[in-house]
Subunit: 170 residues, 2 copies
């Protein structure tokens, strides 16, 4: 069944951490809906990839989506300035919907305040932030816990996509 | 008396968060020593300012400095990939030496694991990371607690410099 994957993204995202999961999800028949502060924007990755934004955060309701993707780069830090992104992510974790976050993507999940006891990974620079948020940080290519799939860097994308696709197939 | 201010900095620093405190400290007679992973590098700020690196982190000892400056931007995130920067900062807090961190600069202080009960501010996006590290986050232009001076954004630089210079004058 085709799933709707909400994707939280803004400028300075790590290009392949959006393009590769998005391609894999679409190839498997799923829809990827990009969400930033405002719709109709075009955002630009660290390496120059441009992505059209489908929806503004004010226009979306977590209930309308089946899963959540948060690519890394500096995009998560920029999103966190606005409380609504953490609030949006919160609903997915609370309802046990699949959440996929890679590299710095887990920074947005910290703002859900729901990471206590969750096995997770993420980019090395945010390891202490994840630990302080109560997560069990693991230095592994992919970690799956409570429907939350996390990876560390672009090199982990094959493992990240593999585990994400498994949850989307359920 | 002239004080030696160790400055942890790498690429993508927020330009004025280095240039303005550095200028103010030098005008007051203090020395500013830039430290990155390697010496002899030149690093480039988000807006293109270049800064020559005086020392590599492996070459320096906290005992040789009187105070610590950590400018913001994405530089602190890049530094945090290397455990030695948090370790270096730790010695300053432990010995009660003045520590000045602005915007994302406090991210490096999280890695000292010494922020419990410290009144602090920082860029809005890292507020939950500071709270989870045990700090009392305050949304104020400058916060001084236990010789740690923190500010939120470039707009706060006058207040940040004023409080930093007071501690350097002691």
């Amino acid at each position: 069944m085709s799933k709707k994957v909400a994707t939280l993204i803004t400028n300075l995202f790590e290009d392949v951490e959006y393009t590769e999961p998005a391609r894999a999800f679409k190839e498997a028949g799923h829809q990827v809906i990009t969400i930033d502060k405002q719709s109709a924007n075009e955002v630009t990755g660290k390496k120059g990839e441009t992505v059209k934004i489908d929806k503004g955060i004010a226009e979306v309701n977590p209930a309308d989506f089946d899963a959540l993707l948060i690519p890394g780069g500096f995009s998560p830090d920029l999103l966190r300035e606005d409380d609504r992104f953490g609030e949006f992510a919160k609903a997915f974790i609370q309802e046990g919907k699949p959440v996929f976050a890679i590299c710095h993507g887990p920074q947005v999940l910290i703002d859900t305040n729901l990471l206590k006891g969750v096995d997770m990974t993420g980019f090395k620079s945010i390891r202490n932030d994840l630990k302080n948020a109560g997560a069990n940080y693991k230095d592994e290519e992919v970690v799956v816990s409570k429907n939350i799939v996390t990876s560390r860097t672009p090199d982990d994308i094959p493992a990240f996509n593999r585990e994400a696709l498994k949850l989307l197939a359920n």
